[in-house]
Symmetry: C2
Subunit: 367 residues, 2 copies
């Protein structure tokens, strides 16, 4: 597990800068985050657990199960605990090895999906306190995401208010599989608060949710579920545009994480076409949908689409905007992207700088 000095410097991309927009921190034990709950809820969880709406609640929806589900085999810390549960080892294996300037935590709290909504709010609060104490305070290269119980907007607002002034948090985390489509008014108070605080909303593809990712029912295979990450993000995008969210919140910024981006141009073309014929149904949409998409959405790279002709990816990047794509590893998950091999095509240097660091730096105000 020791990493030689030579290898390290060979990997480091310090010349260009490197920001990883998708790191999943874990607890050493399943109870580590829950220890931040007040006594009333700790006792509740001990007695009743945390119920979620998934059909097989409690099942880890990733392959290569075991605690730390879906982790890279080499990411298990020598000190024990699951992958990404040990700060020193995460520093060595990720931040130092690749010369990462900043890493964005994606804690994916179960608090967002708890059916007991008061418990959900308490878990989100605990997850945020845990981020501060375990990760953000000791490691200034890391940035947190404010977990919120989005189905109870009043409680979500309280949590955003509590933490929006803490610059160690770079975004508000909202899962893409909510009870209602994201454009519905129930979520607007969250958008208003994020916009007012100048925080982007990070939507990380979720293995949990109120409904299945698919349009038809619960899927048989993980391979289907993995594809459908893109599916659920397409629904997010369409609903937010069509319900007029961006007319109401012109400063709102949405980051779609771990759902790819090559599907974006085709979706936008289709929406522009239908809007041109049926815009009277949605008078709140004042401009072609593609304009809102280009202005309000950002994307992370992993898992990147790999066209048969690698250079086709450049056309996609051109369409969504070279300023909209941000590098991510998904550490410590099995489908980790190494920054040296992420792109199968040579990017123009300015584009490479932007994707590997500049875009995230600007979006998340990392300076």
């Amino acid at each position: 597990m020791s990493i030689g000095v030579l290898e390290r410097s060979a990997l480091a991309k310090t010349k260009l800068g490197l920001i990883d927009c998708d790191i999943h921190p874990a607890g050493k034990t399943p109870g580590e985050v829950m220890a931040y709950l007040p006594k009333r809820w700790r006792e509740h969880v001990a007695e009743y657990g945390v119920r979620v709406s998934q059909p097989f609640a409690g099942a880890i929806p990733y392959p290569r199960m075991a605690p730390g589900g879906g982790g890279r085999m080499d990411a298990w810390p020598p000190t024990g605990g699951p992958p990404a549960s040990d700060l020193a080892f995460l520093r060595a294996q990720l931040l130092d090895l690749y010369g990462i300037d900043y890493g964005m935590l994606q804690p994916l709290s179960v608090g967002s999906h708890a059916l007991n909504q008061d418990l959900g709010a308490a878990i989100c609060r605990a997850a945020n306190d845990w981020q501060i104490e375990k990760w953000l305070a000791p490691e200034p290269r890391l940035r947190g995401a404010i977990c919120v119980p989005q189905e109870d907007p009043e409680a979500a607002l309280a949590e955003i208010d509590r933490l929006a002034g803490d610059r160690r948090f770079a975004q508000v985390a909202l899962p893409p599989r909510t009870i209602e489509p994201h454009g519905r008014k129930r979520y607007w108070p969250i958008y208003a608060a994020a916009e007012a605080a100048g925080l982007p909303i990070g939507m990380h593809s979720a293995a949990f949710g109120a409904h299945t990712n698919s349009g038809t029912g619960w899927l048989s295979y993980y391979i289907e579920e993995h594809y459908c990450f893109a599916h659920s993000l397409q629904s997010v995008m369409t609903s937010m545009v069509m319900e007029g969210v961006f007319e109401r919140f012109p400063g709102l910024k949405i980051v779609l994480i771990e759902g790819g981006f090559a599907w974006v141009p085709a979706l936008a073309w289709r929406l522009d076409h239908t809007w041109s014929r049926m815009r009277s149904e949605v008078p709140q949409v004042k401009r072609p949908p593609s304009e809102y998409i280009r202005e309000h959405f950002w994307y992370t790279t992993q898992p990147i689409e790999e066209p048969e002709r690698p250079r086709d990816l450049l056309d996609t990047i051109r369409w969504i905007g070279a300023d909209r794509l941000m590098f991510s590893t998904d550490y410590p998950h099995w489908d980790f992207d190494d920054p040296r091999y992420t792109f199968k095509v040579k990017l123009p240097e300015a584009t490479e700088r932007a994707i590997f660091a500049g875009n995230a730096k600007a979006l998340y105000r990392l300076d």
Copy 2:
């Protein structure tokens, strides 16, 4: 269709008084209510229709289809239009024939289920204006129900505010098949407004809803759907009790319409039992669930359960409270209950008075 004077007086229950708590008014044409929409939404409906979440949107979920779906064969007005679309004929066939002192309208607006929520709010408003102009203004024996777009509580509140001062409206209409269970906080603003206005909330079993009535999936047969009316009302009751709604709104009154009542004692016993063992999960529930149920719920009679030993019904009525049951016909639907034959058992006279008129008079402040 002419009704003789002798027959009329034989039917009249004027001695005891008679209030019908479930009458379904209809439009002469499908567009009659929609004509009350503002121009922007009339044009929208003409072009796009009204989309709802039912799997086969647009299908009438009742048997004996045809316009006015599920109507009594003899209820088609001689002047044209579907059953219960003609005030003069409704007076003759229902109000005058049975000597009904007051009749409570249950308009079951599609506005509550429209997926386009702004359209839904507009349709609810139109349905309320239509009730006033077509039914409440010309016929003082009728009382309206304020239709609200419950999934958009802000719009629902605006509609309650607009009409709560109009004593021709006796209750707020809330469908029992909502996007989330009724105890969830999203609906609490509606409960607060109804409580403040002193209006009961009428929940009429609905053939439409955001989810199926069953706990498993969409049902094959109407006979199953009809049974499940009770199923969905049981969910309403359980959720409202367990989320602590009645601790927060001690003056809230809920009327369960067309879902029976013989299931209530067994459900309450079961809830009391589980609460006694697991009350720590729901600290907001301070007292045995049966106490909230007895205090906050009312029931209409039709379709009444018919035990093999008719007198068993008396035990049920005793449990729920003789002051909690209110007569209803469900006019003009096929399963109409004639007040002369509703009960297969002789009721004590005070109970009969209460069920046929006194309870509704007190609850709806009809004086």
